[in-house]
């Protein structure tokens, strides 16, 4: 095909996913599906107590049980660990980080492991685990993040002398005016409950040793590269002896972004026993053994002039760490630290985060990680401020939007592009607010049992983790670059090796789209490889909506390098200067001689044969690019929820949900919409259904899918999506990332809608999730 022929670009097209066929036909390679000959099943014995010492432990009965090959206590394995389990983000110099080992003799949360049993089958291992005898000494447990810093609260780690993990502040004071001197000051206190991520695939790890002492760890992980580095370091192994493979992974949402005890145990025990060791979580085990999200108490203040110009925002956050710091635990609040002003131009900015230990499952990244927590308090308080000012909620938002870009926020970071006004306008076009308001007014007048409420959430978010220099400045232990290799095989097929690690996001399809466009080849000629540290040698994996904004851009740079080398080869072979060549869609043409053309693929063959390459040029046509983003990326948008509340029962149902999102350039609209659907659903679920609760002894009450409500299709409506597009000028693709936007925006939209439905009855606040009981009680209390 000549360069002048029209070719529909893959980028921007709703290309169907190549990942699908394998998954649709039941051929997925999830870790639990693998069972090499001789695999031992591993089962972890866990503390039923939130806080308890193991006074004595006996494994004799367990060791003698049918099929059991070995059993170990914490003491038996202590020598296997070179270091405690890693936390990659010491957010302050004096942050407290009590060491956590894969097995312990003092359990600090319900679920903390104290012994491990290995047997020939899962059933035998579990049977034997029940025979492990532990003499427990229960200790006082601290459970509630809101009271953990009060005098007399039990200590999660008595030898720390406190439950305070750290205090981190970001303060800017542009105008010198104290917040309390503002004309209108609105302060609200919010509790955002603990959430249990519930990726559909339970975690699993399979460690396979080979005779040379190397181990391959197959793990249901989002972070194969990081895992390899940190598992090797924790076990005192050379990285060269550990290969980590993330095969098909069934969802993560941050809950598989960690270095877990069971992964360390599987590798250590595989080496000890010289047999493959496999561990698979049961769902109710997942509830205590896999990280939780949120659990924040926030006091948030907005101050404004009487005409509605917001002058100050201030957030004071008390964030539950859980019992230990896992990989990113203390940093989760900080991931939102710069966006507590949301999409609004607020000149004075102050945030303070206090991390607090409780005897609960450790918290860590869960979809949005720090940003839903910010958006929730901002958007709830915007409504409260609007009411206080007597200004329309939508107009208050519009009035205060950042309107010119790039915009350096008071918090110190610069948003490269955006158009919050355009998103809001588009939302209102879709919504037909007048009709909704008329319906609402009619129902109020009639005193209908079912009242209607409309709620808004206009947001921005910061993702595309992350510029390494900034990460260094905020004490994160690693960088935020990403690597891509593009390699032509001799006959013109292309191998793409990415450092990202998809677990449902469709990178194989999207990356092939990007590369096929740049190299002008057929998408089916592009193979995308990922997730295996023997194939993808370097990368920083997938989380924080970074894969496209960082990994995708690395692909572009690698493609540029490939095209550049091909240009040199072609110039040499056509005996022209490199500048005399035009390049488009995989074809080089000589300027002024349109009949003289050749392809990148032809150059690939020439590079392989190496019969006639420019002097000094190495054979082969491949290039690697490692891209360190100069800035975060900044999606934003406007969402609205329409909710119907049954005032007799308190039942709140979502009737409509409209989302306008700006994610910059859209590579694959099918995939982008899918990410928004899924993200919104988790936000809606936060608002209406999900709440992880412990009782006062630290026992998890919502202990499985019966008591913790993950919604089904029956609880949700279809969504109305649209987009605005303000390309990011920071990267050549113009992309921003989309994985978490829905979850960041949705919860306050829904709660604002619920409140709007019953505000005429005097209800002013409601605790998430807005269960029927909470809504009903709020209505009753307002009546009284």
């Amino acid at each position: 095909m000549s360069a002048t022929e029209e070719k529909t670009a893959y980028v921007g097209s709703p290309v169907k996913r190549r990942e699908d066929r394998t998954l649709l036909t039941g051929r997925g390679t999830y870790v639990d599906n693998m069972a090499p000959v001789g695999t031992l099943s591993m089962f972890v014995v866990r503390s039923p107590y939130a806080h308890a010492r193991v006074k004595a432990i006996s494994l004799d009965a367990a060791r003698g049980a049918e099929g059991v090959v070995a059993a170990f206590s914490a003491a038996d394995l202590q020598g296997d660990w070179k270091a405690a389990m890693p936390c990659a983000w010491p957010v302050t110099e004096d942050m407290k980080n009590p060491p956590h080992y894969p097995l312990t003799d003092v359990a600090r949360y319900q679920g903390d492991g104290v012994a491990v049993v290995l047997a020939d089958t899962r059933a035998h291992a579990k049977d034997a685990a029940e025979l492990v005898e532990v003499d427990w000494e229960p200790l006082d447990a601290v459970v509630d993040v809101a009271t953990a810093l009060e005098d007399g609260a039990p200590l999660a780690h008595p030898d720390l002398g406190t439950n305070e993990c750290y205090v981190w502040r970001l303060d800017t004071d542009a105008t010198g005016q104290a917040i309390d001197d503002a004309e209108v000051v609105v302060t609200r206190r919010y509790y955002q409950p603990r959430l249990i991520p519930n990726a559909m695939e339970p975690r699993a790890a399979l460690a396979v040793p080979d005779p040379a002492g190397d181990v391959t760890l197959y793990s249901a992980t989002q972070i194969p590269h990081i895992l390899r580095l940190l598992v090797a370091a924790t076990l005192g192994m050379s990285e060269t002896k550990l290969r980590v493979v993330a095969p098909d992974v069934g969802g993560g949402f941050g809950s598989k972004l960690d270095v877990y005890a069971e992964e360390l145990l599987a590798v250590a025990l595989a080496r000890r026993l010289d047999r493959p060791v496999k561990w698979t979580e049961e769902r109710s085990e997942n509830y205590v053994a896999t990280i939780h999200g949120r659990d924040f108490v926030t006091e948030y203040t907005l101050a404004a002039t009487k005409d509605g110009t917001i002058t100050h925002c201030r957030a004071k956050v008390t964030a539950a760490m859980g019992a230990y710091l896992q990989l990113v635990t203390p940093g989760i609040p900080l991931l939102g630290a710069w966006i507590y002003a949301g999409p609004y131009a607020i000149p004075n900015y102050s945030v303070e985060f206090t991390g607090v230990f409780t005897n609960t499952t450790p918290t860590d990244a869960y979809r949005g990680a720090g940003r839903p927590e910010a958006t929730y308090v901002i958007e709830r308080t915007m409504d409260a401020l609007a009411e206080e000012l007597g200004i329309d909620r939508v107009e208050l938002r519009r009035k205060n939007f950042i309107k010119e870009f790039p915009a350096t926020m008071a918090s110190g970071l610069t948003i490269d592009s955006g158009d919050y006004v355009a998103s809001l306008d588009k939302l209102l076009e879709h919504l037909d607010l007048d009709a909704l308001r008329a319906e609402q007014a009619k129902r109020r007048e009639n005193g209908s049992e079912r009242q209607l409420g409309i709620g808004f959430s206009t947001y921005n978010e910061m993702c595309g983790l992350a510029p390494s220099r900034i990460l260094g400045a905020i004490r994160y232990a690693a960088g935020g670059w990403e690597q891509a290799t593009i390699r032509y095989l001799p006959t013109g097929s292309v191998q793409v090796i990415t450092g990202t690690s998809p677990h449902g996001q469709g990178h194989e399809t999207s990356w092939a789209q990007i590369v096929a466009d740049q190299l002008g080849c057929d998408i089916d000629a592009v193979e995308v490889l990922h997730g295996d540290t023997s194939v993808s040698h370097a990368g920083l994996d997938s989380y924080g909506s970074r894969s496209l904004a960082v990994g995708g851009v690395a692909l572009c740079h690698a493609a540029d390098k490939v095209i550049d080398k091909a240009r040199q080869i072609v110039a040499h072979q056509l005996e022209v200067s490199a500048d005399d060549l035009d390049y488009a869609n995989g074809t080089f043409t000589v300027k002024g001689s349109p009949d003289k053309e050749t392809t990148v693929a032809a150059a690939a063959w020439a590079a392989f044969a190496a019969h006639d390459l420019p002097d000094g040029m190495e054979p082969g046509l491949e290039a690697t690019a490692t891209y360190d983003p100069p800035n975060f990326s900044w999606p934003g948008g406007a969402h609205a929820a329409v909710v119907e509340v049954d005032t007799e029962t308190g039942d709140a149902r979502l009737v409509r949900y409209v989302a306008i999102d700006d994610v910059g350039t859209v590579v694959n609209p099918l995939i982008v919409d899918g990410q928004v659907h899924g993200g919104i659903t988790q936000g809606i679920s936060t608002a209406l259904y999900e709440e992880g609760t412990y009782d006062e002894t630290g026992s998890l009450v919502t202990a499985n899918l019966v008591t913790y409500l993950v919604p089904s299709a029956a609880e949700l409506p279809s969504f109305e999506l649209d987009r605005t597009e303000s390309r990011s000028p920071t990267n050549p693709l113009g992309v921003k990332g989309v994985g978490e936007t829905g979850t960041i925006a949705a919860a306050p939209a829904v709660i604002n809608a619920v409140l709007d439905a019953v505000s005429h009855l005097g209800v002013k606040d409601i605790q998430m999730p807005a269960t029927p009981e909470r809504v009903w009680r709020a209505i009753q209390e307002a009546k009284a």
């Binding site: 169907k16 996913r17 990942e19 699908d20 066929r21 394998t22 998954l23 649709l24 036909t25 039941g26 051929r27 997925g28 999830y30 639990d32 599906n33 069972a35 899962r122 059933a123 519930n198 990726a199 559909m200 695939e201 339970p202 098909d248 992974v249 069934g250 969802g251 949402f253 049961e282 769902r283 109710s284 677990h503 449902g504 996001q505 469709g506 099918l670 995939i671 919409d673 899918g674 659907h677 899924g678 993200g679 919104i680 659903t681 988790q682 499985n704 899918l705 019966v706 993950v710 089904s712 299709a713 029956a714 949700l716 279809s718 969504f719 829905g742």
Partner: protein, 157 residues
Amino acid sequence: MRHVALTVNGTRHELDLEPRELLVYVLRDRLRLTGTSVGCDTSSCGACTILLDGESVKSCTLLGVQADGAEITTIEGLATDGELHPVQQAFHENHALQCGFCTPGMVMAAVSLIDHGEATDEAAIRLGLEGNLCRCTGYHNIVLAVQQAAGVMEKAS
């Protein structure tokens, strides 16, 4: 041990099972049909959904011995001669799967829903899939896929 005979995807298997073995583990561990997954331990998620004697059942909630004499279809048995079943094809065309873990169960439940004539409108589809949880897609595209497949299968019948 109990001796049972199951026909799975057209193949007859004779097995000696412990009475306590769940059918889902019989399929996964003994027959190595790992397309059917275990997603929970409270019969809530539906990832284990298969067809047994023409009905959709959660294979985690049946003992293997209860399936003695049954005709079972798992996800591996749905495509015929390499051609995707209309439900599988519709899921692909509508981006109704992301991580894929819930997908086999969701597809089997959808097949059953349509076969029983119950995929009549959006509300009926959503209610009919109540027993199958998905954490990735938000169900929006799954509903579209089931609607499309229902249309295709109705025309074909």
